[in-house]
């Protein structure tokens, strides 16, 4: 398979290892290694779906499709009936509102750091500070929201006890901003200077350069970061748990309380068993499915807009 002769090694003064390496088709090996690596993701996802499905079987067999549309969550012994509807609505509501709040914040802050004040000390400080937000544990966000934000909302008269969809969405928005800005910053900064200067030389204003040169070029990265941010918002548990009021009702408005899928799992998993546990796991499975659908829809919409 390989030529290992001593003569060649002596003639060219190379080591055995180098001789072997020279003959190895490194491209093929690399391609195989990369492919093998990609299987890890498949493996993890498969393990996850398998375990979630297995755990939800008792609940699926008892409630069937009705699980999706039932707004009841009754753990009373002998009368147990579980349904995911109010959690689905709660999750969608909080995540979407959080993203609506976070997107302009993240978008403009990215432009601030990567375009308007690019390269200056201010930009470094701001981007470092925003990145710090990602390092704050979610429980602290929950506590901060509980002790600082909630009384504010109560004094503003927006809600009697301050819990609710808006409170949690606000805190969620702050939590996901670093995810939305980090990748966007990098992609905006990597837009080649020549493109921008060409546009300026044609007389474009800053806004026009941003809209017509930077954004199209950085669109892929920015979209990826917003999808990641949304994923983070949907899956966030502790912070939302502390602020949403945990009432098993369908939220009637922004200031109403409610409950989310991740939050109910986190709240009740530690103490659940039997059918309740199975229903909680089914909610986890549903969350998986929901994230898939929303991501797919989002990507489709963006492709259409492009």
């Amino acid at each position: 398979m390989f030529i290992l002769s001593l003569d060649i090694r002596e003639q060219y003064e190379i080591s055995l290892l180098q001789l072997i390496l020279m003959q190895v088709n490194s491209d093929k090996i690399l391609k195989r290694v990369l492919f093998a690596a990609s299987l890890i993701i498949l493996l993890i996802a498969a393990a996850m779906v398998f375990s979630l499905f297995k755990g939800s079987l008792p609940s699926i067999s008892k409630f069937g499709w009705g699980f999706l549309f039932s707004p009841e969550w009754d753990p009373t012994q002998g009368r147990e009936h579980y349904g995911a509807l109010l959690f689905i609505v709660g999750t969608l509501l909080t995540s979407v509102v959080a993203l609506i709040i976070a997107l302009p914040l993240a978008f403009f802050t990215s432009l601030f750091v990567a375009e308007y004040f690019r390269g200056t000390k201010i930009a470094t400080v701001v981007s470092t500070l925003v990145d710090l937000l990602a390092g704050i544990p979610s429980i602290i966000y929950g506590l901060w929201g509980f002790y600082m934000l909630r009384p504010l909302i109560v004094t503003l008269g927006l809600s009697p006890q301050g819990f609710g969809v808006l409170t949690s969405a606000l805190v969620l928005a702050i939590m996901v901003v670093p995810y939305a800005t980090s990748l966007s910053n990098n992609t905006i900064m990597m837009v080649p200077n020549e493109l921008k200067e060409a546009a300026y030389s044609l007389g474009a204003t800053r806004l026009e350069v941003i809209r017509n040169v930077i954004l199209p070029s950085a669109r892929s990265g920015m979209t990826a970061s917003y999808i990641l941010a949304f994923g983070r918002a949907i899956g966030e548990t502790l912070a939302v748990t502390m602020l949403i009021g945990n009432e098993n009702i369908i939220p009637k408005g922004l200031f109403s309380t409610g409950n989310t899928m991740a939050s109910v799992i986190a709240n009740q998993f530690g103490e659940a068993s039997g059918l309740q546990l199975s229903s909680l796991i089914e909610i986890g499975l549903l969350l998986f499915v929901m994230t898939t659908l929303i991501n797919a829809a989002g990507k489709y919409i963006i492709k259409k807009i492009a």
Binding site: W73, D74, P75, T76, Q77, G78, R79, G142, F146, Y147, R150, P151, P160, Q161, F163, T241, M242, G245, N246, E247, N248, T257, S263, A266, N267, Q268, F269, G270, E271, A272, S273, Q276
Partner: protein, 348 residues
């Protein structure tokens, strides 16, 4: 260059690991209820100094503790609610319950200027079902003649997460109210007819503290430590009792079954606080499973023996928990002496 740095790092890391005393000390792990966690942590730390045994305890919830024991990934589980007969059948082998202390559930309220209110079981139930909606309801006024209640809506605060505290409270409500028993029932999570949910004892305490006109139930260790004012409850013998370590212990002074599986709520004892209960540590009766060594089994049992003896129990009241009444402690020790390894008793 990079290879050199990596080699240096690996060498440093291995040196670090070697430097740390690979102690021959025994280590035990347990998981379960958050309610007794402060007591357990303090006691376990003291035990570490005495017996050089490291104990790791994770407060992941009673259900998590039982699950961990079922999966045999811990040496003992901890639960505020004893396992029912069906639940015991689901365990892979027979288990024993060892009570370690008792605690209570206090009813906290936020009414500015009012330090003390009396509640009967009936009024308490009516508040938590939402039938009594306002503080100036005639029933409340009748119970507390000198108190000037404001005209304010009652905000009920309950737990959003599953908890043994909820289990104890709802068990009591079931015992005193046929309505509650048939419509809502008891459990670690229930379908509350009204009120908002807060996470953990601190969540409920914090919400009550910040919301005027609110009322909620809190675990006693939390309430005592924070000196939260709570309502006086009328117990089964008709007296209004304040929640305290003494009145909690008094609830355990009655007849209890041999395996200690009993809910102490609504105790008939004269001085008993009506909402009280034990918390248990749970282990397998036959300790030779999963390749468990005799040493490990011995270490576990010695720990539990100390916990139910004078050593461990002295830390209970220090941390605001009610120690076991003498006959319950004796019962616990007797149960420990039935635990076997390979069929032979471990403790003498």
């Amino acid at each position: 260059m990079i290879m050199k740095k990596i080699k240096l790092l690996v060498a440093a890391f291995s040196l670090l690991m070697a430097a740390c005393p690979m102690a021959k000390a025994q280590s035990i792990s347990g998981a379960g209820a958050t309610f007794p966690q402060p007591f357990y942590n303090t006691a376990f730390m003291a035990y570490d100094h005495l017996a050089h045994t490291k104990i790791t305890y994770g407060g992941i919830g009673s259900g998590g503790g039982i699950r961990s024991l079922k999966d045999k990934v811990v040496d003992f589980g901890a639960s505020d609610a004893f396992l029912s007969n069906e639940e015991m059948k689901e365990m892979p082998a027979s288990i024993v319950h060892i009570p370690t202390c008792s605690g209570a559930v206090v009813i906290a309220f936020n009414l500015p200027g009012i330090n003390q209110i009396k509640l009967t079981p009936n009024v308490l139930t009516e508040i938590f079902t939402g039938n009594i909606k306002n503080w100036n309801h005639p029933a409340l006024k009748k119970l507390n003649p000198g108190v000037r209640f404001p005209n304010k809506e009652i905000t009920v605060v309950h737990r959003s997460d599953g908890s043994g505290t909820t289990n104890m409270f709802t068990d009591y409500l079931c015992k005193v109210s046929g309505y509650w028993k048939s419509r809502i029932g008891s459990g670690k999570t229930v379908n509350w007819p009204c009120g908002i949910g807060a996470k953990g004892n601190p969540g409920v305490a914090g919400t009550v503290h910040q919301t005027v006109g609110s009322i909620g139930y809190i675990g006693s260790e939390y309430a005592f430590a924070e000196r939260i004012s709570s309502a006086l409850l009328q117990n089964k013998s008709g007296r209004f009792i304040k929640a305290s370590i003494a009145s909690t212990s008094a609830a355990g002074k009655g007849k209890i079954p041999a395996d200690t599986r009993v809910m102490l709520t609504n105790s008939p004892a004269k001085d008993a606080y009506p909402i009280a209960g034990f918390t248990w540590l749970i282990i397998y009766k036959e300790q030779h499973y999963n390749g468990r060594s005799m040493a490990q089994a011995q270490a576990t049992l010695r720990l539990l023996d100390w916990m139910t003896g004078r050593g461990g129990q002295s830390y209970a009241s220090k941390t605001n928990y009610a120690p076991l009444p003498p006959q319950v402690a004796a019962r616990a020790k007797a149960i420990l002496r039935t635990v076997t390894y390979g069929g032979k008793r471990i403790l003498k």
